[in-house]
Assembly symmetry: C2
Homo-oligomer: 323 residues x 2
């Protein structure tokens, strides 16, 4: 099986899904954000999860898209809350239209996600819906924690990991779990898929934090140092704030408190503080640990090795990402 087959099936479903028609102000933003692209990791995970246990993975395509629509709904609403001007290099919905339209289009996107998710067989419908509801609530909890952290200076590493787990990873876990549920996998395998997805997801997000500081500018899609410039509370900064003492602590706080600064100078200075504190090594060790745990979870899944290989290859791509 060539994994490109999954991507083609998803692309086809994306192009053929009707989100609604009138009023145009309500539905145009949905088509707009769904067409901005992205890696489509989540729906791909659902198809990979289903393929582990069945040749009839096509029946997972519409529910897989539900996960992608839900993900984009959270982006549309998060962008309002974060007052973000750009998403994937294009104007965000609230910038291109306005806040009210972004609120209401997002609401109807969430409804659309539920409608796509209805396309599972009746015996598993209640379980799928119940798990999706729990996941969706957790994603909202993660976003609220993220906003709460903005005004706090005492966020611990454990709190940060819990936040990214809720905001990002549980949906990756659900995407895999959903594939397993649709393919009627055994309960233990479904749970291993979910946990593996969560662990890989945490590693994935921590790698994002690492690449912001130590990524190769030629490969990293975003500006290297963007998080440092914005004082964003990433794993790197939280770890540095916990570890720094004496002069280094004073210097780090001084950079965090400056309102006027040369961006390149700040990135260089804060990166040097990270270097002295060994934050890169701490982060790399944590990332490796979460990825290893995720692979151990996948190891426990009862499926044909050849099929599992596709999932493992996919996970390896996430591990080795440079952008």
């Amino acid at each position: 099986m060539n994994p490109a087959v999954f991507s083609e099936a998803l692309l086809n479903q994306l192009q053929n899904t009707q989100y609604g028609d009138q009023p145009a102000e309500l539905y145009d933003p949905i088509r707009y954000i769904m067409n901005l692209g992205g890696k489509r990791l989540r729906p791909l995970m659902t198809l990979l999860g289903a393929y582990l246990f069945t040749d009839d993975w096509q029946k997972a395509v519409k529910p897989a898209l539900a996960v992608e629509v839900f993900h984009n709904f959270t982006l549309m609403h998060d962008d309002i809350m974060d007052q973000a001007p750009l998403r994937r290099g294009q104007p965000t919905v609230h910038e291109k239209w306005n806040n009210n339209i972004a609120i209401l289009s997002g609401d109807v996107m969430l409804v659309n996600a539920y409608e796509l998710l209805l396309d599972v067989e009746t015996p598993i419908l209640k379980r799928v819906m119940s798990r999706f509801n729990r996941t969706a609530a957790e994603v909202c909890e993660g976003q609220q924690l993220d906003m709460n952290f903005e005004t706090r200076t005492d966020v611990t590493e454990a709190e940060y990991i819990e936040m990214i787990k809720l905001k990002t990873s549980v949906l990756l876990g659900f995407a895999l779990e959903l594939g397993g549920l649709i393919a009627r996998a055994d309960d233990a395998s479904v749970e291993h898929l979910r946990e593996g997805g969560i662990n890989i997801g945490i590693g994935f997000q921590l790698k994002d934090d690492l690449l912001d500081v130590y990524g190769d500018p030629a490969k990293f899609g975003k500006q290297v140092g963007g998080d440092i410039i914005a004082n964003k509370k990433t794993f790197m900064l939280i770890e540095a704030l916990e570890k720094a003492e004496g002069a280094l602590k004073t210097e780090l706080h001084s950079w965090l408190n400056r309102t006027q600064f040369d961006k390149a100078e700040k990135v260089k200075a804060v990166t040097e503080i990270y270097d002295q504190l060994g934050i890169r090594q701490i982060a790399e060790a944590r990332i490796s640990s979460y990825f290893a745990q995720g692979f151990a979870n996948f190891e426990q899944v009862s499926a044909e090795p050849a099929r599992k290989e596709l999932l493992l290859q996919f996970a390896h791509q996430l591990v080795e990402r440079e952008s």
Copy 2:
């Protein structure tokens, strides 16, 4: 059967429903808005709809609350969009907390509504969810149309009726339909309930527009003339804009265009224009017509007359409302 039994069951369910716990900023606003009160018309309609066909109406209580939670989710988000400072005499969620919290709490409320709705029997789950999805999308469409109408001066009566049907009435129709579905009523009766709910709902909303102008200040909960002061595009104003000619037309537009005015004077003047155009009679005839159509729909429902009497009494209260 004393209808107070239904209200007690709902109140009990309201008090025992857990919406979530942490972070508090996410879940406190849900408890806040759900405790602001209100007539609880929608969940009551679900229970009345179920009781038509079964003694086991208690199994409709949790799904009934789903409709009330969904309704309050729409209020929370609409209040942001309308920048409304008060809801039922208390600060709105975005005023008491902030816009971001109102967006995100609303999102998780919608998820909560879906979770409560899951409490129906498996054979009807897909149908219930599918109908709820359609209704929820229509409510969003209605809100978008309402916002679009604010900046238009050529809204027709037909467009206005369609807007209030979507924004308000389809949810009343769904509330009754849901009761019928849960009680496993025949398809024809379920459809008559839905259509009856929609027609009564349109009459109910038009009566709201009428009472704003011709209500008894001693009985009407809100300020009489509030819609006139705000130039709100109600049935009354749309009808007057369609009917007015010559000097009356000039005078009406003059009042609509003034930014400085004495409120009582404007209410008196516009009401006199409505009087001269016979808008009250036109509105009363339309309201009667929708209510009559609703009662004709209910007539067609196949249920014991004694049970149907409870629904008819409830609908009569809506017809005869003075507040």
